[in-house]
């Protein structure tokens, strides 16, 4: 079913560190099309480690995403199908908002 990162994301990046299947990818910092982090729904194993680690409470299981963030479900998927997907990133550089 997969988890979803919503726009509440503040690019802390702890989720990336705990994901057992490495399926969370940041949007390149400063790229206005992809401002936060995105979960690959096809690889996610629904373990919830990311949601537990997120200090901003930005991550939800797909069927618990609040109505106002429903558009993020498709956005996470599109990042991995039409967007950058698994691009080579340095987590330390990607953490935090673009200045």
């Amino acid at each position: 079913m997969a988890y979803v990162i919503t726009s509440l994301c503040t690019r802390v990046g702890d989720c990336v560190e705990v994901c057992p299947v490495s399926c969370i990818v940041p949007g390149p910092k400063g790229n206005a099309d992809w401002p936060y982090f995105y979960i690959d729904a096809d690889t996610c194993i629904d373990c919830g480690a990311c949601a537990a680690a997120c200090p901003s409470d930005a991550i939800f299981p797909e069927d618990e995403v609040p109505a106002e963030h429903a558009a993020d479900i498709d956005l996470n998927r599109r990042f991995h199908t039409e967007g950058p997907g698994y691009w080579k990133f340095d987590l330390e550089q990607e953490r935090g908002k673009a200045s």
């Binding site: 079913m1 057992p20 194993i45 373990c47 919830g48 949601a51 537990a52």
Partner: protein
């Protein structure tokens, strides 16, 4: 009609800790069943007692949750009663290699057509962190405060010694690889062991995802011959800095079920029961009482 992952989905949410390796194993079992093309009513999953043994609750299959250490004899009974069912046993290292150790040896010896998936996190998780038969010597837990003083019992070596015809090891952090391995095990005609390395994120702070990732490698990337028993023993004994994953050994031998005369006419569960006449009942009573 094609089977998809949706056919196996259950509304019951797992109660495992976030990040638990059992999530990866659940995903891999589901993917393997779909890959092989089995529909839910063709599958029986038998488990013991432990966190991982709750797995059938989270899948749309027939499941039997048995006693600690006892899924293999129950699975054996299920196979004898209905050998048209695909039977998987899913249990932890504490269940399978502790109390269940005897059944493990005999099930492999018999070559029962059962897939035996061991959720191997080297600890007793559900009971909150005691060392297990597969824990490394020196492992400090509540029941081994000075470090475990026993040598560890790896399922792979013991399965080979007991005559197991399919011996493999997988990793819960590599869901795709594990799914392929389980699919191969499902299609093997005979006993098929899949020892799945996984972390216990709450109680085992030593054997973490990272610990495994630094050590595991794929036998498929080497020139290992899974038909060579001596080479298989060497690979099964390899542990520590390098841990091999994949098919360690595979061979063919008649299964137990194939050799039982009473099963030759087809699954017992599919047979019609004939009503006994009063004379037949009387004759049976006279024989036994």
């Amino acid at each position: 009609m094609q089977v998809t992952a949706k056919d196996y989905a259950s509304e019951v949410k797992p109660t495992w800790c976030p990040g638990c390796g059992d999530f990866g194993i659940l995903a891999a079992v589901k993917a393997a069943l779909v890959q092989v093309g089995l529909v839910p009513h063709q599958v029986l999953i038998v488990t013991g007692i432990g966190c991982g043994s709750k797995l059938p609750d989270y899948l749309r299959v027939s499941g039997i949750l048995t006693l600690h250490g006892r899924p293999l004899p129950v699975a054996t009974g299920a196979r004898l009663a209905n050998h048209s069912l695909k039977v998987l046993v899913v249990h932890g290292d504490g269940d399978g290699m502790g109390l269940g150790m005897g059944h493990f040896i005999h099930t492999a010896r018999r070559n029962m057509e059962i897939v035996d998936i061991i959720q191997d996190n080297q600890i007793y998780g559900l009971t909150k962190g005691q060392y297990s038969p597969t824990s490394d010597p020196g492992f400090v837990t509540t029941t081994s405060p000075e470090g475990a003083i026993e040598t560890s019992a790896h399922p792979t070596v013991l399965a080979l010694a007991a005559g197991g015809t399919f011996v493999a090891r997988g990793f819960a952090g590599d869901v795709k690889g594990l799914a392929d391995l389980i699919a191969t095990a499902i299609q093997h005609k005979g006993y098929a062991l899949v020892d799945v390395l996984q972390p216990c994120v709450t109680f085992n702070r030593k054997n973490t995802y990272d610990w495994y990732r630094e050590r595991v490698y794929n036998l498929a990337d080497t020139d290992h011959d899974p038909g060579d028993l001596v080479a298989a023993f060497q690979k099964a004994l390899e542990w520590g800095d390098r841990i091999p994953l994949g098919v360690i050994y595979q061979t063919q031998r008649p299964t137990y079920e194939e050799q039982v005369a009473a099963l030759k006419q087809g699954p017992i569960a599919a047979r019609k029961m004939t009503k006994l006449s009063p004379a037949e009942v009387e004759s049976l009573r006279a024989e036994f009482i």
